[in-house]
């Protein structure tokens, strides 16, 4: 909870800083900065490639704001440009040199006006938004709340009975918002699934689904597969999460334990390119058979075309200004 508060504070102070900036800065400076952004080509911008979500300086957007500028003359323009370039080098420097996010929590893609991975919206790049994603955190220390403590004991007992231990098969165990997620080592998945289904203390009869998540910044574990299990006997649920690197996207299939995972694994393969070893017929299910790429991955663009409405052009969704 304290992390959340920190985050809110960070966002608030970022907003304040933004307000302050626009209040104290000279209007001419703002205008010039805007022109600099619009005139430099995308290749020249260091932040450009790293911000697929669309930074604040979308060419279309800036064209709108600077379109009405009357240019004094050729001579003045070149002077302007020279000045702009000088300004650009100084203005961009703090952003790229600013505090970098530690490698374990780099998922934030920057906010409004933010460059270089900083979450600061003021443009000065001095604010770091801490990553609080429990998925990238360590195991949740025991005791766990409510029924989950007993579930954890039952899992340990079942593993002991099968001649294994928690540490052997799990990378970590997360308890978050009343739900428990076992991060299973990928070579152990088939074995663990069988234990979860068959052990009388666990009896997770049903696999409700398999689903992928793509975290491109988590080097070596970019692709996650999340499996939801349901025990009707004991009326409880667990999630199993398995990771695999992008370079070796293999995860053992659980279809032989849970036939219901068949289509779900096909869908996850279709959308993320995760290869489920041992699946009886791993083919695409939603996309056409000859479709190139895997659409739910983060490096796969959303696509779309600009739409004209009453004379104004609205950019496709993935090129619009983003506040993420």
């Amino acid at each position: 909870m304290s992390d959340d508060e920190k985050r809110t504070e960070a966002a608030d102070s970022a907003g304040d800083a933004q307000g302050m900036t626009s209040g104290t800065q000279h209007p001419d400076d703002v205008e010039e900065a805007a022109r600099t952004r619009s005139e430099s080509s995308p290749v020249d911008q260091p932040g450009k490639a790293e911000e697929p979500g669309g930074g604040p300086d979308q060419p279309s957007k800036e064209e709108v704001t600077t379109g009405g500028d009357a240019r004094p003359g050729e001579q003045a323009q070149t002077q302007d440009e020279a000045k702009d370039e000088a300004e650009e080098s100084t203005a961009e420097a703090p952003d790229t040199l600013g505090p970098r996010l530690p490698p374990e929590h780099p998922s934030r893609r920057g906010m409004f006006g933010a460059y270089g991975g900083s979450g600061d919206t003021s443009g000065y790049g001095r604010l770091v938004v801490r990553d609080t994603n429990p998925v990238r955190g360590a195991s949740t220390p025991r005791p766990w709340p409510g029924e989950l403590e007993k579930l954890g004991d039952d899992v340990s007992a079942a593993l002991r009975e099968a001649g294994s231990t928690d540490a052997d098969v799990f990378e970590k165990v997360l308890v978050d918002r009343g739900q428990i997620t076992f991060f299973v080592k990928r070579e152990k998945l088939a074995e663990v699934a069988r234990i979860f289904r068959d052990d009388p203390m666990l009896r997770f009869e049903m696999c409700m689904g398999v689903n992928g998540v793509h975290y491109p910044e988590e080097t070596g574990r970019e692709l996650h597969a999340v499996i939801q299990l349901l025990s009707i006997t004991h009326n409880r649920r667990v999630n199993l999460e398995v990771t695999c690197p992008d370079s070796d996207p293999h995860i053992p299939s659980i279809v032989h334990t849970y036939p219901s995972a068949n289509w779900h694994e096909r869908e996850t393969y279709d959308f993320f390119g995760i290869l489920f070893d041992g699946h009886p017929a791993l083919t695409r299910i939603q996309m056409p058979d000859d479709w190139p790429g895997h659409p739910q991955r983060k490096d796969y663009p959303l696509g779309g075309i600009p739409v004209e409405y009453k004379g104004a052009t609205i950019a496709p969704p993935d090129e619009r200004r983003a506040y993420n």
Binding site: R7, T8, R177, V213, Q286, L302, D318
Partner: protein, 454 residues
């Protein structure tokens, strides 16, 4: 006889080069496209020595509930193998939601399973609220309205299932009556949300707007009508020898099969297991309502029909209880950092922000304007993490897997749609039966392809 010896000219020489109904040679042998009235020709080809007949039923077949494609391998009229082809209605909703704010996501999810929009919205919204940690702060009135809308929606969804299922068997009166009752339900939706379908009514933090004047009376009137008319389906079908002949023992799937294939909903309850998430893992306060979970023990299409009728009656009971519980109060969470700033109102140009609110932000308070602008354009942030939120939709477990990275947009949204999962049971239900039984079995699963393909 080799395959090349078979000559096949559909419906006479005049149509020999018909691009839509002809024969073409492939590496697998000749492939015939059958469009109607030329079945005899195909049967003739079969008699002439074809070894396998594989028939594509759909994706444009009227009895496959939308764009479901059934690939049937036939031996005479008997189905020896059945497979489903899906994906014809894939719209990339999950991907699109990654580029919209959390509130805008509701507009997408409501279009997935178009027969049960409120359930899509509720699963998504409950997942988001769980990530936000505000599940307990949702106002009571909002929860009651949510339950009421979901139960009304369950009725309208089951009515479509029974109506179209009946139509496919030739029971046209069931169809016309079913759609008549459904239309009355959609009238209520239109009165309350402004739209017959695709409502985007349940929002993170509550519901989009309070019940309009006269809504409670209209719902009571509707309940009276429904209690009067719901019995007609039982009178039409329960002991109808044709109906029973078509449904009893058809689409058989027992408890072990349901467990293995992850089947939930009426199909699971037709095996006798009273598994309903509203009872076993309640949400939105369902544990405080008085209702029963109907089951049947025949594991077949007939049992599923009876369960759906009974569930509609239980839903009517729940809606009655909701009306009795409706107390005046807010319908949106008190936290102004999350709650949508404006309530909607009908203006001269249709529905929009209420005029009072516009007067407030445009004329009275700059801070209110800033707040409105930030919340509407940026949206609110959802703490990082992931949750899986299952609810009981008319077709079974609808689960929303919500992943946030702490931003104003979902990092990943995934829906475990019951139609998607339950269609895996088609081979188990249909293989070994007649072609005509495939229609009934699929209808008893009640797949909605909008939800299946998303």
């Amino acid at each position: 006889m080799s395959q090349q010896d078979v000559t096949f000219t559909p419906a006479g020489d005049d149509y020999a080069d018909d691009p839509y109904a002809g024969v073409r040679e492939t590496t697998e042998g000749p492939v015939y496209t059958v469009t109607g009235q030329d079945w005899d020709d195909v049967v003739g080809a079969a008699a002439a020595g074809e070894e396998r007949i594989v028939v594509n039923m759909g994706p444009q077949h009227p009895s496959t509930h939308g764009v479901l494609r059934l690939i049937l391998e036939l031996d005479g009229e008997t189905v020896t193998e059945a497979r489903c082809g899906i994906g014809y209605l894939h719209t990339g909703i999950e991907k699109n939601m990654e580029y919209r704010t959390w509130t805008q996501g509701v507009t997408f999810v409501t279009r997935m399973d178009y027969l049960s929009p409120f359930f899509n919205e509720a699963a998504y919204v409950l997942g988001v609220e769980k990530l936000l940690g505000i599940t307990d702060e949702i106002p009571e009135r909002a929860n009651v309205i949510r339950v009421m809308m979901m139960e009304l929606n369950r009725i309208s969804s089951h009515l479509v299932c029974i109506a179209t299922g009946g139509m496919e068997m030739g029971a046209l009166t069931v169809m016309t009556n079913g759609f008549r009752e459904r239309e009355r339900t959609l009238d209520l939706f239109e009165l309350i949300t402004g739209l017959r379908m695709n409502h985007a009514y349940i929002r993170p933090g509550g519901v989009a707007q309070d019940l309009p004047p006269g809504a409670v009376e209209s719902i009571r009137e509707y309940l009276r009508w429904m209690w009067d008319h719901i019995g007609s389906y039982e009178e039409f079908c329960n002991e109808n020898p044709i109906f029973k002949g078509r449904t009893v023992g058809v689409g058989y799937l027992d408890l072990a099969g349901c467990m293995a294939l992850g089947i939930t909903g009426p199909v699971l309850r037709s095996t006798g297991l009273p598994w309903d998430l509203r009872k076993s893992q309640p949400y939105c306060g369902y544990e405080t309502y008085d209702f029963e979970v109907p089951t049947w023990d025949t594991c077949d299409s007939y049992g599923r029909f009876r369960i759906r009728i009974e569930e509609m009656k239980q839903s009517l009971k729940i809606v009655e209880q909701c009306l009795d519980r409706l107390e005046p109060g807010p319908v949106m969470v008190g936290d102004k950092k999350i709650a949508w700033p404006a309530q909607l109102a009908i203006g001269s140009d249709g529905m929009g922000n209420s005029l009072d609110h516009i007067r407030h932000i445009m004329g009275e308070s700059m801070e209110a304007l800033i707040h409105h602008f930030k919340l509407v354009t940026e949206g609110f942030r959802v703490p990082a993490g992931e949750v899986y939120m299952p609810i009981e939709s008319p077709r079974g477990e609808l689960g929303a897997h919500v992943v946030s990275d702490g931003g104003t947009r979902p990092w990943r949204m995934h829906f475990r749609d019951p139609s998607f999962n339950n269609l895996q049971a088609v081979p188990a239900m249909c293989e070994g039966s007649m072609v005509a039984d495939v229609i009934v079995a699929v209808a008893s699963i009640d797949p909605v392809m909008g939800g299946c393909d998303r």
